[in-house]
């Protein structure tokens, strides 16, 4: 890999041992990818927290948060002192909601570790967005902007919907990018790798958020880590629909980029979406494919009694919280069912001001921030059966927590929270 003079200087240790370790990792990583060079970035989204059980133990044993950053953000067993970040860096979701720790079954000791980590992160200059959706709370990259983001649902969103450029980075590479402002110039940073590979033609209307989730789940399974081009979009999708679509496609497959002909910025036409290449396959999404996706995301569910309704994967927008309020206002949740809605802290502040939080709490639900059930491994005590409106969460939560999960529309989930029973069907 070719290094420029500033990169060679960092590798030589001119900016201290942490930057040297960061550049060493980027070189090893770039060479593993067979990248030609690095590219400058001023927009990094990663995670440096240490609140998960494994990292808590590691921090205690190895000497605190610099040890965690050295090992888990720089792949360095040697503990180096970590300087302030060099470029604008957003923190992604965390392991707990400190304001709902007791309800999430989190001990005070863990809250203190979380707060220590938060103070450490802020001390480095990392912005505490604490969400899987930085693009909902002010970090909105522009078309062509080179970024270094992790979080698969955010990666696919900013590549596809915003036209920004990032690969699905990891904890280590984003840590190195924070300290250097560099990332391998490879994959989706290059024009030629952003063109479509598969053509997906829609034979049915895809309009609701749940339908976009099912489409995403099927598309991901079909194309894996390739780039689908979807044609025949009959209803203009909004942020929530594209967020759920991308999150699902990134979960069932490894999709990091897609095009919607006539909707997304690099696909004004089918020709633009594919560039000089031709589709390697043409696939059709109809009723049978939609049913397949519905069965797959519901594969773990069989008991109708629902203990827990989890919304906010990816973190809910203010609009989605408002939608829940319209379904929930004046209602009361079943005594046997909990409703937790996850969002970013800054969105919750607006929900508080708007009165949405009060409506949800009066019904018996809770608005939580910073984490989610799958990332934080937090569930109401005794949960056996959950209901979710996210295909991504239906994919992950049963595997991670060993519970059943129903997937359906937001309205079906709210109804399950009120009735304590799942009555969802594919219409």
């Amino acid at each position: 890999m070719r290094l420029r003079d500033d990169e060679k200087a960092m590798l030589a240790g001119d900016q201290g041992p942490a930057v040297q370790k960061a550049m060493d990792l980027l070189v090893r990583y770039g060479e593993a990818l067979d990248a030609q060079c690095l590219v400058d970035t001023r927009n990094v989204a990663g995670t440096i927290g240490g609140a998960t059980p494994f990292l808590r133990q590691y921090a205690e044993r190895e000497g605190g948060m610099d040890a965690v950053f050295s090992e888990f953000n720089l792949d360095s067993a040697e503990v180096v002192r970590i300087p302030k970040v060099k470029v604008s860096s957003s923190h992604l979701q965390q392991g707990i909601d400190p304001r709902h720790a007791k309800r999430q079954g989190i001990g005070e000791d863990v809250v203190r570790i979380y707060e220590t980590g938060q103070a450490y992160s802020s001390g480095l200059g990392v912005q505490p967005l604490n969400t899987c959706t930085p693009y909902q709370v002010g970090n909105v990259p522009v078309k062509g902007e080179h970024c270094a983001w992790m979080e698969s649902s955010a990666v696919i969103y900013i590549n596809s919907v915003l036209g920004a450029r990032t690969n699905a980075e990891g904890r280590e590479s984003t840590g190195a990018a924070m300290l250097t402002g560099k990332i391998p110039y490879w994959g989706l940073h290059l024009d030629e790798n952003r063109r479509g590979t598969h053509l997906i033609q829609l034979d049915i209307d895809v309009s609701t958020t749940a339908d976009w989730g099912l489409l995403g789940y099927w598309v991901g399974e079909q194309v894996q880590d390739c780039i689908p081009v979807i044609e025949g979009v009959s209803h203009q999708p909004n942020l929530a629909r594209l967020k759920h679509f991308g999150a699902a496609a990134a979960s069932s497959g490894g999709v990091e980029m897609y095009h919607l002909v006539g909707v997304t910025p690099e696909a004004r036409t089918r020709e633009q979406a594919f560039g000089a290449s031709r589709p390697s396959a043409i696939l059709r999404f109809g009723e049978a494919e939609r049913c397949w996706a519905y069965e797959q995301v519901n594969v773990t569910a069989h008991d109708a009694q629902v203990d827990f309704v989890m919304l906010g994967c990816p973190h809910y927008s203010l609009e989605q919280i408002w939608e829940v309020c319209q379904l929930l206002e004046g209602q009361r949740l079943s005594a046997n069912t909990q409703l937790w809605i996850f969002t970013a802290a800054s969105i919750k502040q607006l929900a508080d001001v708007a009165g949405y939080t009060r409506i949800i709490e009066q019904a018996g639900g809770h608005v939580m921030t910073d984490t989610c059930s799958a990332i934080g491994k937090v569930l109401p005590k005794g949960t056996r059966v959950a209901a979710v409106d996210s295909a991504k969460q239906a994919h992950y939560l049963p595997a991670i927590m060993g519970i059943q999960a129903w997937f359906g529309t937001t309205a079906e989930c709210i109804q399950a929270a009120i009735d304590g029973r799942w009555k969802g069907v594919l219409i």
């Binding site: 593993a32 067979d34 494994f54 090992e71 792949d75 490894g254 992950y396 049963p398």
Partner: protein, 160 residues
């Protein structure tokens, strides 16, 4: 025992390792797809669900799912349950970074598809620096691959 054969590919992470192959045609998720403290696949519909890759030569198409891939395999390495070597076909950012932080020999870009040629239980010697994989098929290779096949006393390492 069948004759040893050789595959050639590109180094991703250097080093040598030899051990038993664990082959899957399913891509692997890191976060939410494995338990990094036991080195076991947990994904609901995965063909390796419940099976450990610790110390194996893991042969798979590539990585999928969350960008927590690298950190989960990173934890698996620190927990002592990472694969001993990784051979895969599809290079992505999460796969490349994951391979780097596991520190085990890793290769891709094979002239022949390792998923076609290597079966679970085969004895595999990986020399990533030289770009060479030597495979000694396990006995009774006509049998379908058995993911949980125990270590058999008849198996001997390929001559190096």
């Amino acid at each position: 025992m069948s004759a040893t054969f050789t595959l050639r590919g590109r180094k991703v992470v250097g080093g040598c390792f030899e051990g038993e192959a664990l082959v899957t045609h399913d891509r692997i998720s890191g976060w939410g797809g494995i338990d990094p403290r036991s080195g076991t696949v947990i994904e609901t519909r995965h063909e390796l669900k419940g099976i450990s890759f610790a110390g194996k030569v893991l042969v798979f198409p590539g990585a999928k799912g969350s960008s927590g891939w690298s950190s989960q395999f990173h934890i698996a390495r620190l927990a002592g349950v990472a694969p001993g070597a990784m051979l895969f076909n599809e290079m992505t950012a999460k796969m490349g970074l994951g391979a780097v932080v596991v520190h085990a020999p890793a290769m891709t870009g094979f002239t022949e598809d390792p998923l076609e040629w290597i079966r679970t239980g085969d004895w595999v010697r990986v020399d990533a620096d030289a770009g060479i994989v030597e495979v000694t098929p396990r006995p009774s290779r006509s049998d379908p691959p058995i993911p949980q096949q125990p270590n058999g006393p008849q198996r001997t390492p390929a001559p190096s």
